[in-house]
Amino acid sequence: MLITFLQRTLWLVALVALQMMVFNHIHFLGYATPLPYVYLLLLFPLGSNRSAVMAWGFVCGLLCDIVSLTPGIGAAAMTMAAFIQPPLLQLMAPKDAVEDMKPSMRTMGFWPYARYALIITAVFAVTYFAATAFNFFHLRDMGIALASSWAITYALCMLCEAVRSK
């Protein structure tokens, strides 16, 4: 339990630090900003307490907000994504998965994991950019920023997972 907590804390610190030092400085073509700290949510095993997942997501998002000067936006997006993570994983986990299966390409298979990560990152990105834009008058710009950021974020999460699974 404690080890799990420490592991998550390490992941959290690492992701926040990466966001602060690296990804916050990337604005690909002026639109795309990678937000890979959502990867923290992909780590929670099957049967996790939803409230606990949301609390981790909120804290992680809030820390990233503090270092990114976007107070509340990341926290709201992470909470939203964390809210759907446990039931989504339940839905996409293999039938013969163990009770506390840790989601990964190895345990779930590539495509189920890819879909799982795709949905979580999509929910996160949509919430994040909706809160950032806060209006729907510039749908085109918002759509480009959302799609590009989501794509990069998703790619980074998959890359991270691929490296971790080896």
Binding site: R50, L62, P71, G72, I73, A75, A76, T79, N135
Partner: protein, 285 residues
């Protein structure tokens, strides 16, 4: 209570979700200028709309009271209108040309107010009794007028009452003329319709039309010139065919006659005495 606790335990994650989202949203609005301004604007709009709805609702609730007040006010205004209309009528009653001329003609003439005691319109020789007599200065052969025209001539006088020979009497005859052309003739009643009289002896060369006004000619000391009598309603030939006979729609409605005035001209006795002397002198020659 237990059911409530079970409910909360079952949906605890929903409460956590809402609480965290609310906290995040508050942070967004509190520390992000753009989102804060949008929120403020939207909140103002929403609050304004809600305030407007509240005002409308309160107004609707108070409509009954407003309606009562309006009804009361309307009643008061209607009373004012009725009072003012009556006042206006009394001040501008003779606003038509005939009635205005009528009142102008009566200026300088001593008028004695009287009430009709008895009246009839169905007989050939109708008579009217009024409640003023010799004690009030009434004498035979004084004219009697109503608000809208000539009524008749005082026929007999007692101490406190007088008998008036109205237009609706076969013995009545007086000189009248057409206001526009000035042609005159003798006004009589044919004993048929109490609303119509006959104006005889209008020359054949006279020019007039239906609706022309007939008024007193002033050729006697009884009535001053220009008092409204009626309007031409039909044109016929006289029995001998040498003149016109005009059917006159009388201005006075004798069926509803109530208030009249006795006309007392200042020089009437002197004029009558002079006429009598002239008649006597002519008879002596």
């Amino acid at each position: 209570m237990r059911a409530l606790l079970e409910f909360i335990a079952k949906f605890y994650h929903w409460l956590v979700f809402v609480a965290l989202e609310v906290a995040a949203t508050m942070l967004i609005f509190r520390f992000n200028n753009y989102q804060g301004s949008v929120w403020l604007t939207t909140a103002n709009t929403v609050v304004g709309t809600l305030d407007s709805w509240e005002r409308e609702a309160i107004r609707f609730v108070h409509l009954g009271q407003t309606n009562t007040e309006l009804t009361r006010r309307n009643l008061r205004l209607e009373q004012n209108v009725a009072f003012l209309r009556a006042r206006l009528d009394s001040l501008t009653h003779d606003s038509t040309v005939s009635e205005r001329l009528h009142s102008q003609r009566m200026e300088g003439v001593d008028m004695l107010q009287a009430r009709v005691i008895t009246n009839s319109v169905l007989r050939r020789n109708n008579l009217i009794t009024i409640n003023v007599g010799a004690a009030d200065g009434v004498e035979p052969e004084q004219g009697v007028v109503g608000g809208t025209g000539i009524v008749g001539i005082v026929y007999m006088v007692s101490e406190h009452y007088s008998i008036v020979m109205p237009l609706l009497n076969s013995h009545f005859s007086m000189s009248c003329c057409l206001r526009d052309s000035g042609y005159f003739g003798q006004l009589k009643w044919d004993g048929k319709d109490p609303f119509f009289a006959i104006l005889d002896d209008i020359p054949r060369h006279a020019r007039f039309k239906i609706g022309d006004i007939v008024e007193t000619s002033g050729f006697s000391s009884i009535f001053p010139k220009g008092l409204f009598v009626g309007r031409v309603s039909a044109i016929e030939n006289s029995d001998d065919g040498l003149s016109y006979r005009l059917r006159i729609h009388l201005g006075i409605n004798f069926s509803r006659l109530d208030d009249v005035c006795v006309v007392r001209q200042a020089f009437q006795p002197e004029l009558r005495q002079l006429e009598e002397q002239a008649d006597s002198a002519m008879a002596a020659q």
